[in-house]
């Protein structure tokens, strides 16, 4: 035991506590994936929104129209002249539309 630095035992204790806390947090967050209500945002693309809300791409296309891959909701709003909030409301109205 000779020459054992004084910080070694507290550091070991702290690392064990951190390991337990981080594992608990990882498991807790992991088990809650998808529990929070899905909110559509302007950076999302129609394809992403379809995946996010478990809607078919055809349903999203019906609401927004067809755009090239990589077009975001913000860009669709700018191109169509319809505010993002209105597009989101239209999409929200179709939630649960697909079986």
């Amino acid at each position: 035991m000779s020459g054992r630095p004084r910080w070694l035992l507290p550091a070991f204790g702290l690392s064990v506590l951190l390991a337990i806390a981080a594992t608990t947090a990882a498991v807790r967050h992991g088990s809650r994936i998808g529990d929070a209500p899905a909110e559509v945002e302007g950076w999302m693309t129609p394809g992403y929104i379809a995946d996010y809300l478990a809607l078919s791409p055809a349903t999203i296309d019906e609401v927004l129209g067809r755009y090239p891959p990589g077009t975001t909701l913000d860009e669709i709003a700018a191109a169509s002249g319809v505010p993002v909030a209105t597009l989101v409301a239209w999409i929200d109205a179709r939630r649960g539309a697909d079986p």
Binding site: S15, A19, T23, W43
Partner: protein, 197 residues
């Protein structure tokens, strides 16, 4: 700010991911992990293709590592020599340098993805203490491949829930690091407690 950055991924694709990984290797505070997750998610939705996302993120990270290493190698020498010459910091710096050299490959490899916050500093330290370029580059190539594959893969699989997945992965990586540190300290403690024969 994160929403703006996420919005750039589908519209500018590879260029944004290249720039993000490159700059994050130089210690700039960029939410690169979330952007990589988003890149994977946009691959899954057909907005981007996998080769562009993975290739540009990987290229940016490798180039960023090389710039960091070169900066240490060229610019860090004088500072390192001064640290070594000081009576108080000299022995400590020498020991740290020796340890880095002994485990250079593993240190560089793990600091690419497991403890990625240390990555830029390991780049500088590796260059400054003259870790061999071949060994450094080999570990950088392998580690960045794991980093890109891990985050793009998770984004592809769980794309709809970027923030949840990002938080879970971050905690899981912290847990792995803490377990590794606890294991190392525990081993040192047990060796020191073992009475000499």
């Amino acid at each position: 700010m994160i929403e703006t950055a996420l919005g750039l991924v589908p519209t500018h694709g590879g260029a944004v991911l290249f720039l993000a990984t490159f700059l994050s290797c130089l210690a700039l505070p960029i939410p690169t992990s979330v952007l990589l997750l988003a890149g994977g998610a946009f691959v899954a939705t057909g907005d981007l293709d996998l080769a562009t996302v993975a290739g540009s993120a990987y290229a940016g990270a490798i180039l960023g590592d090389q710039v960091g290493y070169a900066a240490g190698r060229i610019g860090g020498q004088r500072l390192w020599a001064r640290l070594l010459a000081r009576p108080r910091s000299g022995p400590l710096a020498r020991r740290a340098g020796e340890r880095l050299h002994r485990r250079a490959w593993l240190t560089v490899f793990l600091s690419r993805w497991l403890v990625s916050a240390l990555g830029p500093w390991v780049n500088l330290a590796a260059g400054t203490t003259r870790v061999g370029w071949r060994s450094y580059t080999g570990a950088s190539l392998a580690g960045e491949a794991v980093w890109v594959a891990l985050y793009v893969g998770l984004g592809h699989a769980f794309g709809g829930r970027l923030e949840d997945v990002g938080t879970t992965v971050a905690w899981a990586l912290i847990a792995i690091c803490a377990v590794a540190v606890a294991f190392g300290l525990g081993r040192t403690l047990s060796q020191r407690f073992t009475p000499a024969a």
